[in-house]
């Protein structure tokens, strides 16, 4: 019951926080110089080629503003947006008037989610053991090599790793297709490329957290009770050392859910990143606000999930 109450309270906080985020986004957009639809510019382009009376111009601007909901005061625009956004209705975007934003998101989100989950799973499956090995073999060549690899993974941009993989595995070895997102073969390189960064972070966090736990009194006690390395590490140390790792994984996954534009473009993965990345530079307000909405919602929900997982990892944590 405590958990349910806690979740409901957190969901309410998320709801309020999203409203605040959207208000801030709208106000910032409103303050930013440079409009998508600039009356003077419009008139300059239209007026050069035709005699557009002010009367016609006025109606024309009105039609445009009505289509995109810009014909009402700012507070009402925000209200209208929020009203629809919580029902996942976002209206048309400036840069793609062909279809509503929610249709575009519905098509792209499953792709991004699959890529994010697969990549994060790979990062966890490889990153945690790497961290454990490095911690257990602390200050040996195994530790140095493992940490060197993880450092390289976090230093080299994922994009570059992707390009190198394409050149090796597609162009020269011809083992894998360069791009696409239909067959498992096509998914291998994008998933690895996205996984490398989080994998390196998880490995380093696991290492330092495990080292921290291994120095605790209760580990010494467990050994004193005659526990084997395997039993002590698996049953006592690793589980406790995962708390900070889970804290890292949550937001990482949330960011992956909003797309990884370079990787998507490189491997022609039809995900959300490509959709959102141009929103700001295009002054595509509906899309820009929606990307903020989705990102904030993902981060907050992931944080909630992480907090819930804490309780399973550490029974001492109680929700009130």
């Amino acid at each position: 019951m405590g958990l349910l109450k806690y979740i409901l309270r957190r969901l309410f906080t998320i709801f309020v926080s999203i409203i605040v985020v959207i208000i801030i986004t709208y106000v910032l957009m409103w303050l930013a110089p440079g409009d998508f639809f600039n009356i003077a510019q419009f008139q300059a382009s239209a007026g050069k080629v035709a005699t557009l009376t002010p009367e016609q111009l006025q109606v024309l601007i009105k039609g445009f503003e009505e289509k995109y909901g810009l014909n009402v005061p700012l507070w009402k625009q925000i209200w209208n947006y929020l009203k629809d956004a919580f029902r996942f209705k976002f209206g048309p975007s400036f840069s793609n008037p062909n279809e509503p934003i929610e249709v575009q998101i519905a098509r792209r989100f499953p792709v991004t989610a699959t890529l994010a989950i697969l990549a994060m799973a790979l990062a966890v499956v490889v990153g945690i053991p790497l961290g454990v090995i490095a911690a257990l073999k602390r200050n040996t060549w195994v530790d140095y090599v493992t940490m060197f690899i993880s450092m390289i993974g976090s230093i080299i941009p994922a994009y570059l790793i992707g390009v190198i993989m394409v050149i090796i595995f597609s162009v020269y070895l011809r083992w894998l297709p360069t791009s696409g997102w239909e067959t498992p073969k096509q998914m291998i390189m994008p998933v690895i490329t996205v996984a490398v960064g989080p994998m390196a972070i998880i490995a380093r966090f696991t290492r330092s957290s495990l080292l921290d736990v291994l120095g605790q009194d209760y580990i010494r006690t467990a050994y004193a009770k005659g526990g084997t390395d395997r039993a002590v590490i698996m049953r006592h140390a690793l589980r406790n050392s995962l708390l900070p790792v889970v804290t890292v994984i949550g937001p990482q996954l949330a960011f992956l859910f909003t797309g990884t534009v370079w990787i998507e473009n490189l491997f022609r993965v039809p995900g959300l990143g490509q959709l959102f990345v141009n929103a700001a530079s295009m002054r595509d307000y509906p899309l820009l606000v929606t990307s903020t909405f989705i990102l904030s919602l993902s981060v907050m929900l992931m944080n909630l999930l992480v907090d819930i997982i804490y309780a399973f990892l550490d029974p001492r944590i109680k929700y009130q």
């Binding site: 080629v49 006025q58 002054r283």
Partner: protein
């Protein structure tokens, strides 16, 4: 019984093989090409789909055929049109249509399809139509229809019978055939659109009249087109085209996943040339529908009024060195808006690279060896720009002029620094300019250099006034008042003063074509008087305020014009006059005189050409008929109807 079953199986197998073309030796011919990511397939929007609409999935009355020697590498050919007649004043165009053209569902393509489609595009149902990108803007009553003031039936287009289309224009247009090649001039299938106005364009639903039908589309990934079985007309032998969006083009090509790939960097270019196989598959062409260089910022620092300074800077750039050392041979030096070797470029005089002369000019400008000249700002966006770094370095080395590079956010850069009429926040300096032709039409032959007379070539004080008046004009949309005669008094007084000046301008302007436009009814004062009469008859306060606001905008509009006309240099006025002369004659004739205007615009040194980019690509040697897209959005490939894949 068993043998009967066997026979049936054999029959089915043979049928399948025959259908798939295996037995008769016909293998499906598939071509994969890089393409811009398309957000949909509605032809009239200015997204990548407009390029696909031109001749691949849709066709209009006219279209492009490859002609490497011509401007843009294309020539205009009749597609659905069979013949045309034009009135003496070039305002009424009558087209006879071919009778054998069909939609992909077998329906005939008729003049009524064009009439309905054009009226649909022009209607207020599509408030965000980018009208500047198509010919509808010139149709009689287009703006009145678009604004909802008159019924779409009043638009200047009519199907006189099933195969005769009449287009009536508000002003003469000599290049209608050229304009009718673009995406906004293709028809769409009425029944499909009306049945599902939101989704008619989706693969599986869309009915097209071009040589290929889109059958699948994944934004961010790819689109597949197959041959339209009902297409009538010349086309290549390719059965299926897969358009791939994004990815590593050259690597996809090397892995055998693309039949052509654009080369995007100097490193790729060098790699291709050093590879024995790729170097044989290498092609290049110049992007002569663009000029690349810089423009002065659109701010209000009087320093830019100094013509000798502008000229000195334009002359002090070693364009040869730039193309060789910085652009690695992927561009040609360009010192005029059109290059040598084409009918316009051959008649233009270039800006010489002459450091001694530039130094002399700089001294005459009041800044010997750059002394006394404030630090200028070169605005860029995105990452570093080696071309800008080179230019800045040349100015420092050759003239002693200090220029710093300032990187600004891209939305702000394009909307507020590069393309607005004016940038009040910009300091004295420059922005990068890659000025393209949007499509083949007479106005575009000026490649946006006509911004010089429109927004640059008059004193800063007048430019600033122009900007302030624009702001004032916008403010009129929201002004309160207009309920009493007293509110009209200042407007009426201004109207009379402005009218006197207007009369003088009209009586002294030597270019008749310009005068004709200025005096075309309804003129600004006729519209003002009409609004005043409407105000008198208005019954509600809201209507009264509205008419008063609109009248206020008319007055400020005229003030803007007079401020511009009276303050512009004679050179700018002459440039505009040549522009009028060019756009008022057939395309081929316009090409012969357009250089007069261009030269005047270039000689103001506000918009300065520096280099001409090359399009470079590798291509499957078996592939023929690949057309390079040289206009705005280019380089890329388009008009796939000509593709041919050799065995």
């Amino acid at each position: 019984m068993r043998s009967k079953k066997g026979l049936i199986i054999l029959f089915v197998l043979v049928s399948v093989l025959l259908l798939s073309g295996v037995i008769n030796g016909q293998k499906e011919k598939v071509v994969s090409l890089p393409f811009w990511d398309t957000p949909g397939l509605v032809p009239y929007y200015w997204q990548a789909q407009h390029i696909l609409a031109q001749g691949t999935i849709f066709e209009g009355l006219y279209g492009y055929a490859p002609d490497p020697k011509n401007l843009g590498g294309v020539k205009v050919v009749p597609v659905i049109a069979q013949s045309y007649k034009v009135s003496k004043d070039y305002k009424v165009w009558t087209f006879k249509l071919r009778k054998d053209k069909k939609w992909s569902n077998g329906d005939p393509v008729t003049a009524k399809d064009f009439e309905w489609s054009f009226k649909y595009y022009a209607s207020p149902k599509i408030p965000d139509l980018p009208a500047w990108a198509g010919p509808l803007q010139f149709f009689e009553n287009f703006w009145a229809v678009k604004s909802g003031a008159v019924d779409p039936d009043k638009l200047g287009v009519k199907a006189l019978d099933d195969y005769t289309l009449e287009i009536r224009l508000s002003t003469p247009r000599y290049d209608m055939k050229e304009w009718l090649c673009v995406a906004q001039a293709v028809p769409i299938h009425r029944k499909t659109v009306e049945a599902d106005p939101q989704n008619w364009w989706r693969p599986g639903k869309i009915v097209v009249n071009g040589p290929y039908i889109p059958v699948s589309w994944t934004p961010g990934k790819d689109m597949t087109l197959v041959k339209n079985p009902n297409y009538v007309g010349e086309r290549g032998n390719v059965d299926r085209i897969v358009l791939k969006f994004g990815g590593l083009g050259l690597q996809q090509y090397m892995a055998g996943e693309l039949d052509a790939a654009l080369i995007n960097t100097v490193a790729e270019y060098k790699f291709v040339l050093s590879d024995p196989k790729l170097s044989k598959e290498f092609h290049e062409d110049i992007m002569d529908c663009f000029w690349n260089g810089y423009q002065w910022s659109r701010g209000f620092d009087p320093i830019m009024d100094n013509e000798k300074l502008r000229k000195a800077l334009a002359m002090a750039i070693d364009r040869e060195k730039l193309c060789k050392d910085v652009l690695g041979g992927r561009a040609l030096p360009l010192n005029k808006y059109w290059p040598d070797g084409n009918p316009i470029g051959d008649k233009l005089k270039g800006i010489p690279f002459d450091v001694a002369q530039a130094k002399k000019l700089l001294a005459e400008a009041g800044y010997p060896n750059g002394k006394g000249l404030k630090t200028l700002v070169f605005y860029i966006t995105g990452g570093g720009d080696p071309v800008v770094e080179f230019i800045v370095d040349q100015w420092k080395k050759n003239l002693g002029v200090n220029v710093i590079i300032e990187n600004i956010e891209s939305g702000l850069y394009w909307n507020s620094y590069v393309w607005p009429s004016f940038s009040p926040d910009a300091k004295a300096g420059f922005t990068v300019m890659g000025a393209p032709m949007n499509n083949l039409e007479i106005g575009a032959l000026f490649k946006n250099s006509d911004h010089t007379p429109w927004f640059f070539d008059f004193p800063t004080s007048a430019r600033k006034r122009y900007y302030e008046l624009q702001q004032e004009q916008d403010a009129w949309l929201r002004k309160d008042g207009g309920l009493t005669e007293a509110d009209w008094k200042p407007l009426l007084e201004k109207r009379n003063t402005l009218y006197e000046t207007y009369k003088k301008i009209v009586s002294t302007e030597p270019e008749k074509l310009w005068v004709a436009e200025l005096t075309q009814s309804p003129t600004w004062y006729e519209r003002f008087d009409d609004l005043y009469e409407k105000w008198k008859a208005a019954k509600t306060n809201a209507d009264k305020t509205n008419y008063w606001r609109l009248a206020g905008r008319e007055i400020v509009g005229q003030e803007i014009f007079q401020n511009w006309y009276l303050n512009m240099t004679e050179r700018a006025r002459n440039a505009i006059r040549w522009r009028y002369r060019a756009v008022n004659r057939p395309f081929n004739e316009a090409v012969k005189i357009v250089h007069y205007g261009l030269q005047l615009m270039q000689d103001a040194y506000y918009m300065v050409p520096v280099y001409l980019a090359k399009a470079q690509w590798v291509q499957n040697p078996k592939l023929e008929g690949l057309m390079l897209y040289k206009f705005s959005w280019g380089p890329g490939f388009f008009n796939f109807k000509w593709l041919n894949l050799k065995d």
